[in-house]
Symmetry: C2
Subunit: 158 residues, 2 copies
DNA sequence: GTTGCTGAGTCTGTCAATCAGACCTAGCCT
DNA sequence: AGGCTAGGTCTGATTGACAGACTCAGCAAC
């Protein structure tokens, strides 16, 4: 009954690496704002309630990691400022955000429902994540997914 | 050009609530282990390198929040111990895990690829997340998703 | 029957991160 | 000159992460 996973190393696990970026308390909340079109420091700060210092840190980290980019803009009658926009890497976080949103809506929402949904640009229908295997089968139940070592798996040493 | 999102409150945002659970550095890594069939304290500790204290905290928090349950078991010649198993709520995190894995594999993997994949139990094909709208359209590009207020949205006061 | 092992923790002290609140700054406007 | 605004920094108190030592219950070997 020893789990097979024990034989494999986790040093190069991409979930752990992803969580180094996404796994800080406010990162995904900040990204939610950017996905919502809120791109400016003070708007984010007021909406999320994240302390200035932390917000500055997170934004800098996300820029450094390539999830956001910092772009200059200038409104008439103001000096130049910067706003934060998603890079391609950042845009590809939509599925993660939608997955978290779906889970949160199911288990943590108030009775009246979720305050935020994701819609399909073309038809307006609500967007959800679905698990599907490479042969096109829909994977309906969580139990139908089984983990297995991938091409980068390494046997454990020690 | 003021983003519409600024008019809506975020106090009941389900992403923020979900991140209260998932958004700590090690939570998803711990869950990865459980999904992999590693259910015991010491196995997790050795594999993940999470400090004992933190692991104990995370497990207790996940049990308290209903993501894991603590089950007694007994191996012959040993006293009774406990292991950690996913609840229904926990199993429903598969899409989140697969989404994070997919993103990590794309942007953060070593050249030889990911050490872990998710497979379809029936056919063995690799499982990925897909965005799909409620009318069945596949949402191919991230830009085709647009956020919008949901049923629980509240106007901002102040 | 004492010594040792094992799994699953707790205790302690150090060091880093979070947070709230005040302060700073560049350019614009009056 | 004085005030406003966006986007920050600086400071000090609290909280969390972490490593390493210690605990504790039951089995097992000497």
């Amino acid at each position: 009954m020893r789990p097979a996973a024990l034989d494999w190393s986790v040093e190069n696990c991409t979930i752990a690496r992803a969580m180094e970026i996404l796994g800080e308390r406010w990162t995904l909340v900040v990204l939610r704002e950017v996905f919502n079109g809120v791109r400016r420091f003070d708007d984010m700060r007021v909406r999320t309630g994240v302390p200035r210092q932390v917000l500055a840190n997170r934004l800098a980290m996300l820029v450094e990691r390539g999830v956001l980019r910092r772009e200059p803009y200038r409104e008439p009658g103001s000096r130049e400022r910067h706003e934060y926009r998603l890079t391609g890497m950042g845009l590809d976080l939509w599925p993660v955000l939608v997955a978290v949103l779906g889970w949160g809506d199911r288990y943590l929402a108030d009775p009246e429902g979720s305050p935020l949904t994701a819609a399909h640009r073309d038809c307006g229908g609500e967007v959800r994540v679905e698990l599907r295997c490479e042969r096109g089968h829909e994977v309906a139940r969580p139990r139908d997914v089984v983990p297995r070592p991938g091409p980068g798996a390494r046997r454990r040493t020690g």
